[in-house]
Symmetry: C2
Subunit: 313 residues, 2 copies
């Protein structure tokens, strides 16, 4: 028989902290990835790292108090942060997006102040973990998530954990080459997928073709306008090539497509993928799923919390 | 104090079985990857799978007797076999190279006959595990091995184990695209690395350029002949692109280049790699090592044995 009242279960909830360039979201999330309570505040990175830590501690303590009042235990905290971050050392080193945050240890002060285990991951990996826990990636043993926005990022989930390279290195799937004759990219080659299929790259191609912006070209291509289709064609083909490459590298069960561009134009942008990979003879493709992300902005927060349930690797 | 004589330690040696299209090598291998005893026999695949199993059992028992006579314990057996193979199901399904061997369970009969744990892996993965255990991959936490011969194969070692995709799927790194305008390949796209840098591909380009064969073009390019360099140039550039792709996917510490082509022409064929990857800004490259394989044909046998020390994943 179940007792009528029960003690708070250790590990019932996790505290997620999603740190972006403009906003910090904090939330209590259960093991199924449901957000129970959440808060959002401005990042105000330029006001200093110390101040941000104080505000995060304060907001976290308030959430922990609410969990306690509801008699629900919190097993630990996870942070997803716009990278570069160094997960094992607990360091954020992203002065590009977080002004002045060079080589900042976020894990130690939070661990001390909150008296619980705290883990750190970059936001792309946290988002993938979020989709895997509670969104479009649920149930997939091998998953590649690609995020299309200002840049193109990717993350790989394997055996229920985030794939890491040497020294915790994060795969940079947005800089795989797809066209040797494509535009030069800051990554060091010509024709990486980001140089062709990111928001700014589509915008540039659209303006060159006489459209007001990338958004207009995409909308008109979706409506079947041929001149717009000419702008979007190379993007579609490049995304298909990218998926081919990743399929032959990681042999995943599912691809999840996230980010602003995919939220609006998933069907249009992934139009060539199925046809391209169906021609593959060396890896099975019939069971490979191509799906849009489902959690939008919440993926990062849910994934940050899910770090708590990850076994150390 | 150490006792003067000791009982055979369980797990001191492993039995490795390397099954290829023409030869089967069997050996007793220690934990450091040293071959203590070995035997080679013709495969004679066409004489039937059952007969091959009997001969493997017989040769294995002889090796186990020798281990017993030397008072050295054998912890288990590992099989590396030219694929497709299905490791978890213990099935070889390669009628292409092993005539008539369709859907053959090799693990169950060996397990029964030898009364020990038996594991199966494809030969590319076994070779990578071999190089990682005792050859050019030793000590690398993240390793990509590429084998250049009649075809191009690859394998990834992560956290001391073989990377596997969904349903144990094996990455097919030889069919990553490097040039959209390259030759059509049976894999389903144009310009995969195998269509440009495999032995037959180099041979074809060499003959078209007026050389007797690929071997001649490679030797002359190595000697600095310009017309031969024109044949080898696209191969060199394609290998550099391939390494770029794999670097951004897997973020490995080391690349090991094996196979007949690399045994003869490692320096020539990898000439462009360092320059290409040094331009990368998104992943660290200074510590990335590019090395030739060291174990030659023994890699498969040593790796097959090393399967015994692998933890189940």
């Amino acid at each position: 028989m179940e007792p009528r009242t029960r003690a708070p279960a250790l590990g019932e909830l996790a505290l997620g902290i999603d740190i972006g360039g403009t906003k910090i979201a904090l939330g209590l999330v259960d093991r199924e990835g449901r957000i129970v309570q959440s808060e959002v505040m401005a990042t105000e990175a330029a006001a200093g790292f110390e101040r941000a830590v104080s505000r995060i501690v304060e907001a976290s303590r308030e959430l922990l108090r609410r969990a306690e009042a509801a008699e629900r235990g919190v097993a630990g905290a996870g942070i997803g942060c716009t990278g570069p971050v160094y997960p094992r050392r607990g360091i954020i080193d992203n002065p590009y997006t977080l002004e002045g945050w060079s080589n900042c240890d976020i894990v130690s002060p939070l661990r001390r102040a909150l008296e619980m285990e705290v883990r750190l991951e970059n936001d792309a990996d946290a988002a993938a973990l979020g989709e895997w826990t509670a969104g479009a990636g649920k149930g997939a043993g091998r998953l590649v998530m690609l995020t299309f926005g200002t840049g193109i990022g990717g993350s790989v989930i394997v055996n229920g954990g985030i794939y890491r390279g040497a020294d915790d290195g994060h795969p940079e799937l947005g800089h795989l080459g797809v066209d040797p004759n494509g535009p030069a990219c800051y990554c060091g080659i010509r024709g990486c997928i980001e140089s062709i299929a990111s928001g700014p790259a589509i915008h540039k191609a659209a303006v060159q073709a006489g459209f007001g912006d990338g958004r207009e070209a995409l909308a008109r291509a979706a409506a079947g306008e041929l001149r717009a289709a000419d702008v979007v064609g190379p993007v579609q083909r490049s995304i298909a090539v990218l998926v081919w490459q990743l399929l032959h590298c990681f042999v995943p069960r599912r691809f999840v497509f996230g980010g602003g561009l995919m939220e609006e134009h998933f069907a249009l942008l992934t139009r060539d993928v199925r046809k391209t990979i169906s021609a593959a003879t060396m890896v099975p493709t019939a069971g490979v799923e191509l799906v849009p992300a489902r959690l939008g902005n919440s993926a990062g927060l849910i994934g940050a919390a899910a770090l708590v349930w990850q076994s150390e690797s």
